[in-house]
């Protein structure tokens, strides 16, 4: 898949790769600004990921690991590099690709085609779980009802759970996602803006949910998206097959503002991104602060700090024609629902597909 041969050198770059001192450099390394050739860059990048995996003990031999695969550059590079390292360093992992089909025509259907090609290219079995099967609704149908406001809330809540459910179907021990440093910094900011202390305290960890059924890890946690962006450059040089179209429903997502801010910040001082993550990590919450207790959803059995998990609340709203249910401030919702249950004997009127048929 790689392009053959070295193109002619530009006489303005006469230096040689600082690693092999032999080939013509192709890029400057972001951290050190060392000039490095393509082949050495592959090795250095893969070695960095390997070190992150080893130092943070992300995997244990014999584990089954699902790679959350969107078809985008980060998860495609993750799938490629992880399967390569698994062979090279004998991690002894059983790797799978796990994709979520939100049911977004013109976006997810195309990116799923990419993942299906990756399945063949990397020889990793692929599992696709769809919102339609899990919840009875596609995002296209949801957007038709609620419009382009709050749609990302539905999608985000559903995806989080769908990934766990898909992972349970695959019977994997862990899920690895392609989240990079910029993504995590965005999440730190969003959790601060939302005042979500519980999530703030766990969103920066490289592995999360270790107390739960299926932990998640982010091997790209330390990779900045600055230019030259290693993940993107790797994907381009290796001619990896990835999909790069923005979700057609996302322009109004709150996250977009955080992303824009992070990008501006990165332009001024790239390290700022890692500093934000560090701040998130260093947040210490007073022991007297009452944290939400993790329980299970009474309806579907998914982890939840409330009586019902967020997905069930949102689904309930959709199925009852009250899509605003569960959007915005959640205070009062449970009270409202209790009243509903009393008045309408609600539990019997639920027509949606049961989402509690999976074991966790």
């Amino acid at each position: 898949m790689e392009k053959e041969g070295d193109a002619k050198p530009k006489n303005t770059a006469p230096r040689l790769c600082c690693v092999c001192n032999h080939r013509r450099p192709a890029l400057k390394r972001p951290k050190t600004l060392d000039q490095i050739c393509r082949e050495c860059f592959y090795e250095v990048f893969e070695e960095e990921i390997h070190q992150v995996i080893v130092e943070n003990q992300l995997f244990k031999p014999g584990e089954r690991v699902a790679i959350g695969a969107s078809g985008g550059k980060d998860s495609t590079v993750l799938a490629y590099v992880l399967s390569k390292l698994n062979r090279q360093h004998q991690y002894g992992l059983d790797l799978f690709l796990l994709s979520i089909d939100e049911g977004i025509t013109g976006y997810r259907d195309d990116s799923l085609e990419t993942v299906k090609r990756n399945e063949i290219q990397y020889g990793l079995p692929l599992k696709v779980v769809s919102y339609k099967d899990l919840y009875g609704w596609t995002m296209d149908e949801i957007v038709k009802i609620i419009g382009l406001k709050n749609n990302c809330t539905f999608c985000g809540v559903f995806r989080r759970q769908a990934l766990d459910r898909g992972a349970a179907m695959l019977k994997v021990d862990k899920v690895a996602t392609g989240h990079n440093a910029d993504d995590i910094a965005e999440t730190v900011l969003l959790n601060i803006l939302r005042g979500d202390i519980a999530r703030l305290s766990r969103c920066t960890a490289i592995t999360t949910g270790e107390d739960g059924p299926i932990p998640r890890c982010k091997p790209f946690k330390f990779h900045l998206l600055q230019i030259p962006n290693c993940i993107l450059t790797y994907a381009y040089f290796k001619r990896l097959d990835y999909f790069s179209t923005e979700c057609i429903y996302s322009p109004n997502a709150y996250r977009g503002f955080a992303r824009e801010f992070i990008k501006d910040l990165e332009r001024i001082r790239p390290r700022a991104i890692l500093d934000i993550i560090k701040s998130g990590e260093d947040f210490r919450i007073s022991t007297t602060t009452k944290m939400p207790e993790q329980g299970t959803c009474e309806r579907c059995g998914y982890i939840s700090s409330q009586k019902w998990c967020k997905a069930c609340v949102l689904l309930e709203g959709l199925n009852r024609g009250l899509p605003k249910l569960g959007i915005g401030r959640s205070r009062g919702l449970n009270i409202e629902r209790k009243k509903d249950v009393k008045e309408n004997n609600l539990t019997e009127s639920i027509e949606s597909k049961q989402c509690g048929t999976l074991d966790f």
Partner: protein, 99 residues
């Protein structure tokens, strides 16, 4: 001057969803060489059909766009001052789209 231009990471959407453009860029009269600065102006005028602000900011590419000249980061060849030659391959990839 014959050049191959490649757009990726969503930038192709700005030029009629075509990723690879084989183009012939005329150098200005009396000037032999063509620099990346000249090429960017040419691309903006001749190839970019919509939302040029997604591609350029000021006289250079928008932050977040990776530029490779013959598979080499243009930082190594002098960015805007990079001199282009016949049959060079220039790649523009945006990182701004999701991963």
């Amino acid at each position: 001057m014959q050049l191959t231009l490649e757009f990726g990471g969503g930038l192709e959407l700005l030029c009629e969803s075509k990723k690879i453009h084989k183009v012939n860029v005329e150098t200005q009269k009396g000037v032999e060489k063509l620099t990346m600065k000249d090429l960017l102006t040419w691309v903006r005028t001749n190839l970019i059909k919509e939302r040029p602000e997604m591609f350029m900011k000021g006289d250079t590419v928008r932050p977040g766009v990776l530029v490779l000249v013959n598979d080499c980061d243009w930082e190594l060849s002098g960015q805007l001052n990079t001199t282009l030659e016949e049959k060079d391959v220039v790649v523009f990839i945006s990182t701004l789209h999701g991963g």
